[in-house]
């Protein structure tokens, strides 16, 4: 992998979530050479962890499959996984980027036959399932993982398990001596698409995410619906594994709040409306299951209004205009009790729920002020819009809290900006 040929007409894309994948594919399909790097062992980022997309309630892996086909078919894209940028030098049209490659301990001989995972006994917390599930320490990140190649978790290095995995592989794919590598990539322009991460829910102290088992985040809830997720596709609450039928959603958990994130994270209203439909999907029409959405404003702009209307028409979904003040736990049964004031008519409430989902805010997974190379950062750590950042262009949620559609637009736009730079380089050299 160290022989990656890149020139100053190459576009380097950092991050292979939906934004980075899009930027890389759109650039390559314009005939540009692209190096795409991803810190995880497989591409797809957070969309690959979603159960459904709003508003069509369709499957994110469906679009991912198309993008993977485009990726597999395009010789202009060089993909490096388990790779992170450690430094950027140079100027527009001529960057030299230092990249650190972490060892996978599995080489390209891997056929994904799964023999290593069968041989290994040690288990690790599954990062794909937000640590809610245990998987073997030799693993394929998920069903759609690309590259379709196993990973050996470094925690078993030097143990009998590692040797067992190696012995089980009939294709010489396991190389326990792999070392981290530093490589340098030349690029004319850089697209920075490192995406977002959920705000640390434990910081919202009144909601007790770190104290109450049955307060979870929206990203965790999403994993619970997946038949291959931590609960096998059932809405089982963490405290006692019982089915949760009375579920609360707290909007703006960490967002629109001067103590936490000052911005509105944009996607959380649609995400909770979507997740409210999961309750109906899970329990059917006849059950007494219900969703209660505690909100300040329901922010579903443009045609998403249709979806809001559709969810509002469902009698099982209740809307309470209120910023929840705090949560307590009923120790007897593990229920959580939400306290606050319904501002419509000013009614005080203490509502028990079996499970509470925090519609958690989005923050950039990499603080833009930490990206060397002169990227402008806003107060939240997003790449600031409209500022001159040389030829390093933000794409997707590295630039703001965006939904998938907007992230893809943003990435497509970033692709053009990068192409403008490398075309200029090409013209100068012609």
């Amino acid at each position: 992998m160290t022989n990656t040929v890149a020139t100053n007409e190459t576009i380097l894309v950092v991050g292979a979530g939906i934004s980075g994948l899009t930027a890389a594919l759109e650039s390559a399909e314009c005939g540009k050479n692209v190096v795409l790097i991803e810190k995880n062992p497989s591409v797809g980022g957070r969309v690959s962890q979603l159960y459904k997309y709003f508003p069509k309630l369709c499957r994110p892996s469906c679009g991912l499959e198309i993008n993977l086909r485009r990726l597999k078919a395009n010789p202009r894209i060089k993909l490096l996984t388990m790779a992170e940028v450690t430094g950027i030098e140079g100027e527009p049209g001529d960057y030299r980027v230092a990249v650190q490659l972490q060892p996978r301990y599995v080489n390209e001989n891997c056929t994904a036959c799964g023999a290593c995972a069968e041989a290994v006994t040690a288990e690790i917390d599954d990062p794909y399932n937000y640590q809610l599930k245990q998987i073997k320490a030799a693993y394929l990140p998920h069903n759609m993982a690309y590259p379709q190649r196993y990973v050996i978790d470094p925690s078993i290095l030097g143990t009998e398990d590692a040797e067992k995995a190696k012995a089980a592989c009939r294709y010489g794919a396991i190389d326990l001596d792999m070392q981290p590598q530093s490589i340098e990539i030349q690029a004319g322009a850089i697209i920075w698409a490192t995406g977002w991460k959920p705000y640390d829910a434990a910081k919202i102290q009144p909601y007790g995410y770190d104290r109450f088992a049955n307060v979870i985040t929206s990203v965790e809830f999403e994993r619970m619906m997946d038949p291959f997720g931590p609960t096998g596709g059932k809405l089982l609450r963490p405290s006692d594994g019982r089915e949760a039928k009375n579920v609360a959603f707290i909007q703006c958990a960490g967002s629109r709040d001067r103590n936490h994130l000052t911005h509105c994270s944009r996607i959380c209203c649609m995400a909770s409306l979507k997740q409210a439909t999961y309750i109906g999907e899970q329990y059917g029409d006849d059950s007494d299951a219900r969703a209660s959405i505690y909100y300040i404003d329901i922010r579903v702009i443009d045609r998403f209004e249709d979806f809001y209307e559709q969810v509002r028409a469902d009698e099982r979904v209740h809307f309470i205009k209120s910023k929840v003040a705090n949560i307590t736990e009923d120790r007897a049964n593990g229920d959580v009790i939400l306290h606050g004031v319904d501002t419509e008519g000013y009614h005080r409430y203490d509502n028990p729920h079996e499970l509470c989902v925090l519609a958690i805010g989005m923050e950039p997974s990499v603080d833009a002020s930490q990206i060397n190379g002169g990227v402008a950062s806003d107060a939240s750590g997003f790449i600031a819009a409209g500022e001159s950042t040389g030829a390093i262009f933000g794409a997707g949620c590295a630039t703001n809290a965006l939904d998938v559609n907007r992230a893809v637009q943003s990435a497509t736009a970033a692709s053009l900006r990068a192409i403008q730079v490398v075309n200029q380089v090409a013209r100068a050299e012609a």
């Binding site: 892996s61 922010r299 443009d302 000013y346 053009l416």
Partner: protein, 746 residues
């Protein structure tokens, strides 16, 4: 065909060697499959295996390759030979991973593998390496329709990448609605105050740009051609017409303001002091930083009420059902016009949900600091009383009816897209004209934006609420007309900031379209595909099904009503091929034969063997991956099924179904994507077409006195990993119940 040489490679890795008789597979490839070279390999995807294939291509003259190993979705980096025709027999995910490893299962498992090798060999004989479109157009100029912020941004960004641009604007000036703004919503930190709209600079940049040519007072009179070779007639107001050739089109035709005179209950038209947001911008421009005066008597406005969602987010007759997205921020900005000039002015924003996503929240907070009042209320009416306006509303917080007095009321009305003619309505209207239906209600015709001379109508299809169709989650720029991209509020309601990003993305797609067209490559989702449909004119009956059913409007008709294929408009889904009753349409590497011969290649046990055969035609985008992943999970399904991936269910030709029934298959399953309004078909209409056609198959089945259950269609999602094997097994049980196909052996 004399210079073709076929080789088959049979992998023994991943348990194939232990579970299958690979020597028998090799024999089959040689004897029945007519392969000149057959090789078995212990580990075909390693360097040695791949090197063996490479060597045969380079030194043995191999032109056609059959790889019998894992799924076509696996090991694509290794099995990447783009200079030969290639097919994959799926022995791993398709056979050994879905069958129990037992002595009992061995025979039927081997039969599956045998058949997949037969099918691959049959397919490859009819496959050709695509040569690429020979009539590709190489025009790389980009036409932008609309000279507002979206259009100007698209033009400038395309130009910066080195492309020549034409901008057609129907009015006498560039700038669109944004030029009429006093200020715009801020786009950078601290997001506290309105900022200059920046339109003057944009217009100057356009005028200074040597790459950009502007046509004012002009509209598109006619558009013909295809990506890389569009011909566009640009008509001016004075009646002159210029013809220009371009490679791609960006439609940035924007929006018009909702007609507020439809809101008399909110006082519009009843008092000049009730204005819409555009009207307020005009007043603010006139005041130019000084206190804003009310229109009726020129008195300085001391109190103003903004009514949000006026005529929108409502299902009432004549209202807009959607939210226009920008209006909350716009009202906040407009409230600041008053507060910044005179903090003493009472400004009330009356809202249901205050929608200021992202950093709009900072702007909202800034307005609160400036003393703008936000009231959650439902307006009930606006009346004049003693020279003042009274807004009657229900206060949602206090839960009581109340009245707010104001000198001026601003209605936050919505955006209505300029998306041209609704071609579906046009088609319906022309149908009803054909049938002389007197009751057909013809709506007021809307001027077309693009005036495409396409068979399927003059504009892009509308999707919902009159906005131009585009995929609205994963692939926002995919319209149903290749090489034509929409951006800005014609696509969905949006603000200036989003429109600028959107326009930049659309410019990229337009550039991509001209680059792809010039080398004959397909656009999304089969990006890079060099095959394209060809048709045998002598067999064609001019039935027009292909021209009507193409989801992308790629096929026109000539004077004699023969289809005219516009290759660079084609997305290679094969819906035309599926539509053709006389089977004259084919792709070099995907045709009635490449599939039909596979169907026939399967060995058909006789009636008394008690081994039914089920043909499963699976969409390669969703159903096929789901089947692969089921195999990955070790789920087991019936050994009687033979799975054949298709580009789209829309490409399924009825002849495959009738041939299959005639050759003794006991049942046929089709698995495609969700159809309808919330379609998930990557080719929009493909799966819907398949459903339509299969609906007609029922009649045929009945005529043959076959049970209608012999052909079933399922909507399948890529995540239906547990469901697909279950569907197969249930169907196998069903076939068992209804018995063998009586045509077996005839």
């Amino acid at each position: 065909m004399s210079d073709t040489k076929t080789a088959a490679y049979i992998c023994k890795g991943c348990g194939l060697g232990e579970r299958l008789d690979t020597a028998q597979l090799a024999n089959l490839a040689e004897s029945e499959g007519k392969c000149a070279i057959t090789r078995q390999h212990d580990f075909l995807c390693n360097q040695d295996g791949v090197g063996t294939i490479r060597n045969d291509i380079d030194n043995e003259g191999v032109t056609h390759v059959v790889i019998a190993a894992c799924s076509r979705r696996a090991k694509t980096e290794a099995f990447n030979f783009d200079d030969v025709a290639l097919t994959r027999a799926n022995l791993r995910e398709g056979v050994v991973w879905v069958r129990p490893d037992s002595e009992e299962a061995r025979e039927t498992t081997q039969e599956m593998a045998d058949d997949y090798v037969r099918m691959a060999c049959a397919e490859i004989q009819y496959m050709h390496q695509p040569a690429g479109n020979q009539e590709a157009g190489s025009n790389k100029r980009i036409l932008v329709v609309g000279g507002g912020v979206s259009g100007m941004t698209a033009a400038l960004e395309s130009s910066k990448a080195g492309y020549e641009v034409l901008v057609v604007e129907k009015t006498a000036e560039l700038g669109g609605w944004a030029a009429k703004l006093h200020r715009r919503v801020p786009t950078r930190e601290p997001f506290a105050d309105p900022q200059d709209a920046g339109v003057v600079e944009l217009i100057k940049a356009i005028n200074d740009d040597q790459n950009v040519q502007v046509f004012l007072n002009s509209t598109i009179v006619r558009t013909s051609g295809a990506p890389g070779r569009f011909s566009v007639d640009i008509g001016t107001e004075s009646g002159t017409t210029t013809t220009e050739n371009v490679g791609a089109i960006i439609q940035a035709s924007g929006f018009r303001n909702y007609d507020a005179s439809q809101l008399p209950e909110l006082g519009f038209g009843q008092s000049p002091d009730v204005v819409d947001q555009a009207g307020l911008e005009e007043l603010a421009k006139q005041a130019n930083g000084k206190p804003i005066q009310r229109p009726s008597d020129g008195k300085e406005v001391n109190s103003v009420v903004f009514i949000q969602c006026a005529g929108q987010r409502s299902n009432a007759e004549g209202h807009l059902p959607y939210c226009s997205g920008h209006c909350c921020n716009t009202s906040i900005k407009q409230a600041m016009y008053f507060k910044d000039a005179n903090p003493g002015v009472d400004t009330v924003v009356m809202f249901d949900d205050l929608r200021t996503p992202g950093n709009g929240e900072d702007f909202y907070r800034s307005a609160q600091r400036k003393g703008v009042i936000f009231t959650k209320g439902k307006p009930q009416g606006v009346n004049k009383n003693n020279g003042q306006l009274e807004v009657k509303f229900h206060d949602m917080i206090l839960d009581e009816d109340a009245i707010a007095k104001a000198d001026l009321v601003v209605l936050a009305t919505g955006q209505v897209p300029n998306s041209g003619a609704d071609i579906e309505q046009l088609a319906a209207a022309s149908d009803s004209e054909d049938t002389q239906n007197e009751n057909a209600e013809l709506t007021v015709p809307v001027d077309s934006i693009l005036n495409l001379n396409y068979r399927q109508g003059p504009d892009l299809p509308h999707l919902r609420h009159g906005f131009s169709d585009s995929h609205f989650i994963c692939f926002p720029y995919e319209t149903r007309r290749s090489g034509i991209y929409t951006c800005g509020p014609v696509r969905r309601p949006m603000d200036i900031a989003q429109a600028a990003v959107d326009a930049t993305g659309a410019a990229l797609k337009a550039i991509q379209a001209v680059e792809n067209a010039s080398v004959g490559r397909a656009a999304h989702p089969r990006s890079g595909d060099l095959s394209f449909p060809s048709f045998r004119k002598e067999g064609c009956t001019q039935c027009k099904r292909c021209t009507v059913e193409c989801p992308f409007g790629a096929i026109d008709e000539d004077e004699e009503r023969y289809p005219v294929f516009n290759e660079s408009r084609c997305r290679r889904c094969g819906t035309c091929m599926g539509a053709c009753p006389v089977r004259v349409i084919s792709f070099e590497n995907y045709s009635v034969d490449t599939v039909g011969q596979q169907v026939k290649a399967v060995d058909m046990p006789d009636e008394f063997d008690e081994k039914p055969r089920i043909l499963l035609l699976a969409c390669e985008n969703d159903a096929y991956p789901a089947l692969d992943m089921a195999a990955q999970q070790g789920l087991v399904y019936s050994p009687f099924v033979r799975i054949l991936p298709v580009r789209c269910l829309g490409s399924v030709n009825a002849i495959w179904i009738s041939d299959a029934l005639n050759s003794g298959y006991d049942g046929i399953m089709l698995m495609g994507c969700k159809k309808g309004d919330d379609y998930q078909c990557h080719f929009v209409k493909g799966s819907e077409m398949a459903y339509d056609r299969m609906g007609k198959i029922d009649d045929t089945l009945q005529q043959l006195q076959l049970e209608t259950e012999r052909v079933v269609t399922h909507e399948v999602e890529i995540t239906d990993i547990h469901r697909v094997p279950q569907l197969i097994n249930e169907y196998a049980a069903k076939i068992d119940e209804i018995g063998m196909n009586p045509f077996k052996g005839f």
